[in-house]
């Protein structure tokens, strides 16, 4: 059976043309890289390092809480560590990791050569790294924020949080939000305008739909946190505005509204890409296209919209009018409908497909178990009377770890195993993969299930210790034990990756025999992704035998040229020369970073950032001809 987009039907290049393509797409140097694969890998590896740091912080917290009246960490240290943990996991791990996977995978799934704005992509990575270095650089000098990852004023204000910790926190947000916005803009444009010809809106792989929804959510949500952390909090702290200072007529609840208008969508920004990964894994391993494609897409888009309408459920205890609260209860529960539709469609797909139980699929089943339970506790938290008991207790801690670890981390690990051959050109060891899955799954449930109970038994969040007499000890002990199983599962995973990267069996182009375009090119793909850009006629082009599928001809190989297609129908419209390798995004990011670091200490830092950043931008936008090579 011949398949149109596998080697036999693709137009291939003659050796000199291929050589030209290779030379045009050569990486120029460590700091000048603009190819999406390299940057995607950097995002993934950097974010993974932050995951490890956040994980170590989590273990320290669990050790402290493992026994009542423990004195391992004092209150000051404990508060710093939980602030670092939340901040790291949200801003330096989860979002950048999802972005990194998107940066790597989206152009491959769409059948193009790079993202729409490669220099912006590089700039985004360097800003993300700058933000991470700011937070952990400050941590090394013991300037650690300690007002929580949400930094509610007035506690985070100048009066109650003197010192520079909170300024570091707020400015770190600036870095990561710039980075996230860069990726969101470039992925949205890539998905809308650079799809393979024939990939109409209803043929976009579900993962790309998820990234598109996520990108728009970032574009709407991130400016809100900029208002909260920079306009309100930093200005209150550094130049004495009183936006959120109640002592001078400011309103601390205003901060909460704006923060959660970002903060709730943030959770979906993290887990919506994961839902796309789940679909990709299920399709490849149940051997069929996902059931209910239109319903799934609408559910994703619906999730994206509804996510902006339920921030108040983080604020039920603040004493808002009851009628408004009822609205937000209903909105919060609506999320269960859109998520439910997706779960039903996946289950339907699993029922009617034929399963191949890879490690990736293990993680998907783990995801369904954990995520559905997190959804159930989410329904509890949407109900105001129940939320007023459970809010700010360990019940909530349990809930959002079920949703975020179950909903995002498990699919992410699954996706990592699934795409590992594409990333590295080698197969990942399945036995070790399954071992790490079971350790993570069991460890996770041992850690977080007891926290539901201890929360309902009255244990509030963010306490560094608790009395023996309240009976919370055994639950916490179990949770601490489970946390170490998770840690060992992580070690097995890392060992597996290290080993398989060197010793794994060589992977061919399509080891899972999957249907989407990333599997149509070699593993790992060359810098230009495809010798000839593919033309598709189905959702699973590699499973579809259609005369309409084939290859794009007529693009120049002597410069970095890609095809721009129309928004709805993906009809070829124009050729677009995308920028090549350049060091200016790096220099610009360094300039901004120096200024923004300095702004932690003085408002003058903003002037420095403007001047240094401007120098970088002048170099960046200096008119020059695109690189063209002679054959």
């Amino acid at each position: 059976m011949s398949l149109p987009l596998t080697a036999d039907r693709q137009v291939t290049h003659e050796a000199p043309e291929r050589d030209l393509l290779k030379r045009v797409w050569t990486n120029a140097g460590w700091f000048s890289v603009t190819t999406h694969q390299r940057l995607g890998k950097r995002y993934i590896i950097t974010a993974f390092i932050f995951l490890l740091l956040g994980g170590i912080e989590a273990l320290l917290m669990r050790l402290q809480l493992g026994a009542p009246e423990n004195t391992l960490l004092g209150p000051a240290r404990y508060n710093q560590i939980f602030t670092l943990h939340g901040t790291t996991m949200m801003f330096l791990f989860a979002v950048p990791m999802m972005e990194g996977m998107g940066v790597y995978l989206v152009p491959l799934l769409l059948g193009t050569r790079n993202v729409a704005f490669p220099r912006l992509n590089a700039f985004g990575y360097w800003m993300f790294l700058g933000g991470g270095l700011l937070l952990y650089g400050a941590a090394l000098t013991n300037t650690i924020p300690d007002a929580g990852w949400f930094a509610y004023p007035p506690l985070s204000g100048p009066q109650f949080s003197p010192g520079k910790g909170v300024d570091v926190w707020a400015q770190m947000i600036t870095f990561t939000e710039i980075s996230a916005l860069c990726v969101a803009v470039e992925l949205a444009v890539t998905i809308l305008r650079m799809r393979a010809p024939g990939m109409t809106l209803n043929k976009i792989p579900m993962y790309c739909w998820a990234m598109l929804v996520q990108s728009f959510m970032i574009i709407f949500a991130m400016p809100a946190v900029m208002v909260a952390s920079t306009v309100f909090l930093l200005n209150d702290r550094t130049i004495g505005t009183h936006f959120v200072n109640p002592a001078e007529g400011g309103d601390p609840l205003l901060y909460q509204h704006v923060f959660w208008f970002f903060g709730h969508p943030e959770v979906y920004i993290i887990f919506i890409p994961a839902l796309g990964m789940v679909t990709a894994i299920i399709e490849a391993n149940a051997r069929r296209s996902v059931f209910g494609y239109p319903a799934m897409v609408l559910a994703l888009v619906g999730n994206g919209f509804v996510a902006f309408g339920l921030w108040v459920h983080h604020m039920f205890a603040t004493g808002l009018p009851q009628i408004g609260e009822a609205y937000f209860t209903a909105a919060s529960m609506m999320i269960a409908i859109t998520s439910g539709v997706q779960i039903f469609c996946w289950i339907g797909t699993l029922w009617t497909g034929r399963l191949r139980l890879t490690t990736a699929l293990h993680f998907v089943f783990g995801f369904i178990f954990i995520f559905v339970m997190g959804g159930m506790t989410g329904v509890i938290l949407a109900s105001i009377p129940l939320d007023l008991q459970a809010h700010d207790t360990f019940f909530v801690v349990a809930h959002f770890h079920y949703v975020l670890i179950g909903g995002a981390l498990f699919p992410l690990f699954g996706g990592f195993h699934h795409w590992f051959p594409k990333f590295t050109g080698r197969m990942i060891d399945e036995r070790l993969g399954k071992l790490s899955f079971w350790m993570l799954f069991i460890g996770f449930n041992l850690t977080f299930f007891p926290l539901h109970l201890v929360g309902l038994n009255g244990m509030p969040r963010r306490v560094y210790t608790y009395p023996v007499s309240l009976g919370w000890g055994p639950y916490n002990q179990l949770a601490t034990f489970g946390a170490f199983i998770i840690a060992f599962g992580g070690v097995v995973f890392i060992a597996n990756v290290m080993r398989s990267r060197k010793l794994g069996a060589a992977a061919d182009a399509n080891p899972w025999d999957a249907g989407t375009l990333e599997w149509a090119t070699t593993s790992p793909p060359p810098n230009y992704n495809f010798e000839c850009l593919p033309v598709v006629a189905a959702r699973q082009p590699l499973w579809t035998d259609s005369p309409e599928q084939g290859s794009v001809v007529g693009l120049r190989d002597d410069r970095r040229e890609v095809l721009v297609t129309s928004f709805l129908e993906a009809k070829p419209q124009s050729r677009y020369v995308i920028p090549g390798e350049t060091i200016w995004p790096f220099i610009t990011a360094v300039g901004f970073s120096i200024g923004l670091y300095y702004s932690v200490f003085s408002f003058a830092g903003y002037y420095v950032a403007s001047v240094l950043g401007m120098i970088g931008l002048i170099g960046w936008f200096w008119p020059r001809r695109p690189l063209e090579l002679r054959p």
Partner: protein, 337 residues
């Protein structure tokens, strides 16, 4: 050192749980019943969904090493149609269940939040401070207003309105045995209603992260029979008892002459500080340092000698007291019944 109130109080049956699962009044009871209903329903749904998801695992599937039998397994249109029907029905059921849950939860919310019936009511004003609770019993007659700290006393069967605010950062008032939580926000006043239907001790704790000693910002809510409550209130209305012996007299002098009087009030003396808790009836309290330690002379001595050791970061100043003055000071404070 940091042995906690409840540990020793357990013997005297003071150690009621701080638990939403052990309601002691009608508001918390309504919430608890709702929780049980939600829990039952959601557990059932969870089990059904997981079973449905797990079924394909037990049907024929391929090990990873096996050669694929066919490239893909796209089912026919009839199967897809039937599947569509099943998914549609499941979604419809989900929608109906959620609508029902919204209706039930809003109505229980109304019933559990407001004063639920006519009858006697009282108002207690609670002000959050880093890291203790200022408590004021409101009364139309100014002379019958009582000020207390870290303890709330209520009569059984009376509906109590908590009017809460904060002096510094955001705190959250939470006595899970009686009611859900309500944030105490500076420059705003929030209210909530609670009611105890049996005498007993209910522990509460600050539920909004409020800085270094968030973990040690607890309180006890004590529900008395109406007669006991009246007796307690009458005692609180009196000024502090006068020293009854020379030691206590000396202790009072030490208190008044040292920095203690700058922050604390003892009605009936010239100590009128407004920064820390009112100590007029200090010895009648169960705990010191907002639920951190049981109230006895030993703990009090340790607390006064080195508050930072017991509650690092506390705003209680370390006041130097001469060694020979310590015992009289403790005698005096523990006489303030």
């Amino acid at each position: 050192m940091r042995s906690v109130a409840c540990g020793m109080l357990a013997a005297s049956a003071l150690c009621a749980q701080q638990s939403a699962l052990d309601p002691g009044g009608r508001n918390a009871q309504a919430i608890h019943s709702l929780l049980v209903a939600f829990f039952g329903l959601l557990t059932t749904i969870f089990v059904i969904v997981i079973i449905m998801a797990a079924v394909p695992l037990f049907r024929r599937h391929r090990g990873i090493e096996q050669e694929p039998l066919e490239r893909t397994h796209q089912p026919g249109e009839a199967t897809e149609k039937r599947l569509g029907l099943v998914v549609g029905i499941a979604t419809a059921i989900t929608v109906l269940i959620l609508i029902a849950l919204v209706v039930v939860s809003v109505s229980v919310g109304k019933a559990s939040q407001g004063p639920s019936r006519p009858g006697k009511r009282m108002t207690v004003e609670v002000t959050g401070n880093q890291w203790w609770w200022y408590v004021r019993y409101y009364n139309d007659q100014a002379s019958r207003i009582v000020v207390d700290a870290n303890e709330i006393h209520v009569p059984v069967g009376e509906q109590v309105m908590i009017r809460g605010t904060s002096n510094d950062v955001i705190h959250s008032f939470w006595v899970p045995g009686l009611q859900g939580k309500r944030d105490l926000i500076p420059s705003r006043v929030n209210t909530e209603w609670l009611e105890a239907d049996r005498p007993g001790y209910f522990r509460g704790q600050c539920a909004e992260f409020c800085g270094l000693q968030h973990a040690h910002m607890a309180m006890w809510l004590v529900a008395h029979s109406p007669a006991d409550f009246q007796a307690w209130m009458d005692n609180q209305l009196k000024p502090a008892v006068a020293p009854s012996n020379s030691d206590e007299q000396r202790g009072q002098q030490v208190f008044l002459d040292s920095a203690c009087a700058i922050c604390h009030t003892i009605r009936g003396t010239r100590a009128a500080g407004q920064v820390g808790p009112d100590l007029t009836h200090f010895a009648s309290r169960l705990t010191i340092a907002a639920g951190t330690l049981p109230n006895n002379k030993g703990n009090l001595g340790g607390w006064i000698a080195d508050p930072q050791n017991i509650k690092p970061g506390t705003h209680m100043a370390t006041v130097p007291v001469k060694a020979e003055d310590v015992q009289p000071l403790l005698d005096y404070l523990e006489s303030l019944k």
